[in-house]
Symmetry: C2
Subunit: 188 residues, 2 copies
């Protein structure tokens, strides 16, 4: 038997999935509440029972994506097979993979201004990152290194997405930039 709250939660998930799918397939302008509702099997007004407005729905998608990245970071941080340096590298590579496979979602995740919901989810993904860096460079330097690494990775992903970072022009790509950035860390 499906209770009412279960059914409502399922609809909410269906709406999020539908919107994320439309975003991936057709970019931001393809995400219309009417089409989101249709894909989720409900009407155009149904989303307003679960989200304040369209922006709120998009924010929820961004937060969800950040949380998925956070889960991945937590898993990587706890992996005993990986060196600390490889953990850092893998966390940045996870961001790069999102940027390449789901560019519109990636851009949505960095849409300003980030609300508290998104900031918290993003912060959760940065916890294991800082922890790994603390192992390598000490707690005092971890934040400064982290900011440089994260900025570099985020910038490379963005420039690659917009078509500005091409191997043709720069003789390199985002992967190599990640290598260079991680290479700044002491090897331990």
């Amino acid at each position: 038997m499906i209770s009412r709250v279960e059914s409502a939660a399922a609809t909410r998930r269906a709406l999020l999935d539908a919107a994320a799918g439309l975003l991936d397939e057709g970019g931001p302008e393809a995400v219309t509440l009417r089409e989101v509702g249709a894909r989720a099997g409900v009407s155009r007004g149904a989303p307003y029972r679960h989200f304040a407005d369209k922006d709120d729905l998009l924010t929820a998608i961004a937060a969800q994506a950040w949380n998925a990245l956070a889960d991945q970071a937590v898993t990587l941080g706890a992996d005993p097979e990986l060196s600390t340096r490889d953990k850092v590298r893998a966390m940045l590579a996870g961001m790069l993979a999102t940027g390449r496979e789901r560019p519109h979602l990636y851009r949505l995740m960095h849409r300003p201004p980030a609300g508290p919901e998104v900031l918290q989810a993003a912060g959760r993904s940065q916890g294991p990152f800082i922890a790994a860096l603390s192992d390598l460079v000490g707690a005092a330097q971890a934040h400064r290194f982290g900011a440089v690494l994260l900025s570099g990775a985020h910038g490379a992903i963005g420039m690659e997405a917009s078509g500005q970072l091409t191997r043709d022009k720069w003789k390199t790509d985002a992967d190599e930039i990640l290598d260079t950035l991680v290479g700044l860390l002491p090897a331990r």
Copy 2:
């Protein structure tokens, strides 16, 4: 006496200025062709005499902004008072200033996918940048260094704009990240 082509060019400029102003003041959703026309003193249909559609108008604004940055870079590159390292630093600082003072415009400049018009204007701004780096690290390494520096700067600007790079959380800011990045270059 104002000829017809002069008047048309003036209207085109007025449309660009109006759209850029609306973008700065109210973000992307504040840029409506109706309001752009009103600010430029023409009707809602007038923009279609100068731009294919709204997207084309936004692209023109992005290209214009890149060209302004390119002009600045050219001037900096030719400044005999500045050390090569200071030139590089100043060029990146120019990007940072745009990102802080006109965040919506900055985001528009990096909107994917960048059309040829935007790519060319952006490339023009990168010429002096590469030239300065060649002075410091040699032509062979200039591109690889340039990609890292530009990625780092762009990422820091973007994270600051979205509210993710705060001194409270990272004990640093975009200025210091720029210093760190430029510090990677040999001092000459």
